[in-house]
């Protein structure tokens, strides 16, 4: 039982902690808000908006309309969207199938293969970078979408999450179907896959975000302007025009992250859960 005094004190503590967190949180998202706001400042390309302010003095859509004017950003959006679509498709299907096999399958070498899959998470991508480049170059696939999309087949974290998901489902589901003589593929597609909606959504979101934001590998394999993804276009833009054209640059940066932001704000519950899960499962 709490006395009146201690519950009052608890309330005060909560208020102080809440305000402190709000202040810290505002500091954290200030650069983010400032990016959006400088984009709305008509004169930002000529004069740095100084002193910095969150509400633009001369509000206009000018910079945001410039972002789309020459069509390069739209092209980059299209490229990123196509890459993301196929990457998500590959990585989610490979994780669902693989996770199911490691959960319900009985076959020789299961343990070793599972360890092999998990071990791929430890390997820095840079160790494979140069041979991957040489391999795709020998296949004349540099400067195409293939090198960006195909490696999405590897999704070790996805396999781990899927295995755990399928492990929770009752074994009885399989037994009755087996008695009816259904094959393994039929059992997977007719019984387990329809139940896997939540994990499929989670994996799709994580993989979409990874694909949309990926930078180093596309930087290595894409040269032509026609195939540049959003981060490549943005990095090129910010290094060429950069701070001299502060207004357009900030507007471009803001536009570049709209899809991931929208997905995050709609699906934040799923995303935060799955981040927490993947971090803890790493133990």
């Amino acid at each position: 039982m709490r006395s009146m005094g201690s519950s009052m004190r608890r309330k005060w503590e909560d208020a102080v902690v809440g305000l402190l967190l709000l202040a810290l949180g505002m500091i954290m998202i200030t650069p983010f808000l400032w990016m959006i706001s400088v984009g709305f400042e008509r004169t930002a390309n000529v004069n740095a908006p100084f002193p910095p302010r969150l509400i633009p003095y001369d509000f206009s859509w000018f910079n945001y309309s410039l972002v789309f004017e020459n069509g390069l950003m739209l092209k980059a959006y299209w490229n990123s969207a196509v890459n993301a679509f196929f990457s998500v498709l590959l990585s989610v299907s490979s994780a669902l199938l693989g996770g199911y096999a490691f959960s319900r399958g009985r076959f020789k070498g299961k343990k070793i293969l599972f360890v092999l899959v998990l071990a791929t998470m430890m390997i820095p991508f840079e160790t494979t970078l140069i041979p991957m480049f040489i391999m795709f170059n020998d296949l004349h696939l540099i400067d195409t979408r293939y090198p960006i999309i195909l490696p999405s087949l590897i999704n070790a974290m996805g396999i781990l999450l899927c295995k755990q998901f399928f492990d929770q489902l009752p074994e009885g589901l399989r037994e009755s179907a087996k008695i009816d003589g259904a094959g393994e593929f039929k059992i997977f597609f007719h019984i387990f896959f329809p139940l896997a909606g939540p994990i499929t959504a989670t994996l799709a979101i994580l993989s979409f975000q990874g694909s949309w934001n990926s930078f180093v590998w596309p930087l290595v394999v894409i040269n032509s302007q026609d195939l540049k993804t959003v981060p490549l276009f943005l990095s090129q833009f910010s290094q060429e025009s950069g701070t001299p054209l502060m207004g357009v640059t900030m507007a471009t940066a803001a536009v570049s992250i709209i899809p991931v932001m929208v997905v995050f704000l709609i699906m934040q519950k799923y995303i935060i859960q799955s981040i927490a899960l993947s971090g803890l499962k790493g133990e």
Binding site: M135, L153, I159, T252
Partner: protein, 283 residues
Amino acid sequence: MTSQGWVWFIFLLPTLLGIGLFTLYPMLESFRLSFTRGAEERYVGFENYQYVLTSGSFRQAIFNTFYIAFFQLLIVIPSGFIIACLIQSLRRGKNFFKILFYIPNITSMVAAATVFLVVLHPQGLLNYALSLFGIPETIWLANPTSARWSVILLASWHALGFGIIINLANLQAISPDYYEAASIDGASRFKQWLYITIPNMLGSITILVILGWIDGLQRFTEAFMLGGHTGSPVRSLYTLVGFIYERGFGGLEYGVASAASYLLLVLILIFTFINIKFFRMKI
């Protein structure tokens, strides 16, 4: 063991194909290349390793990489833990703060760095904020130490939300019974935090330290965006992966770059091993 074990290999086919083509083969190939030199891939023994280890620019890259990683973790890990504890102590609004602090992490690194170029601009947000406390103007990207700290700031800003989410998940996993028993015994909230919360958090702190070092050793995008190919000013932002990138794709020295990428792999394995040992001993 069923007679149809092979069917599971069809489920695993996408994953095994991916690992074979995009991890195992490149790993072996990279190992082989690290002992060769030139387009004709002449065998040179350990020459590349010797060259890399004695080269001044590699040492510079190692120093920068460790410097940035160390201070970034020193900032992010304790503050992520403390902020997570503060959020957990609230009775309402937990979800709001989770989203607020996670937003920087959703922003792609390229977009975040683009914004930071403007934040770090002499007339940018950071100098303005510091001037309110009477601290004189700094040209952040002009001097090696302040340039490194700029990357540390950007990387910390980006990573903090992840640490908070992982810590919160672990905090929520601690049984409320402990706290109840302690408060019946009359322990203050601070004492409960010291004697119950902290000992139960070593698991997630370990995972964050391990993941933090793995990410830190692979740092590239932040430094590349703020300092370009050569990590300006005076190579203060030149990282290990920057070395691999410059030698591999700038100089087409595949052998040297492959040797450096294997050294990176070895460093990551050693660090992960040390971190696991160190934290196990504490537990």
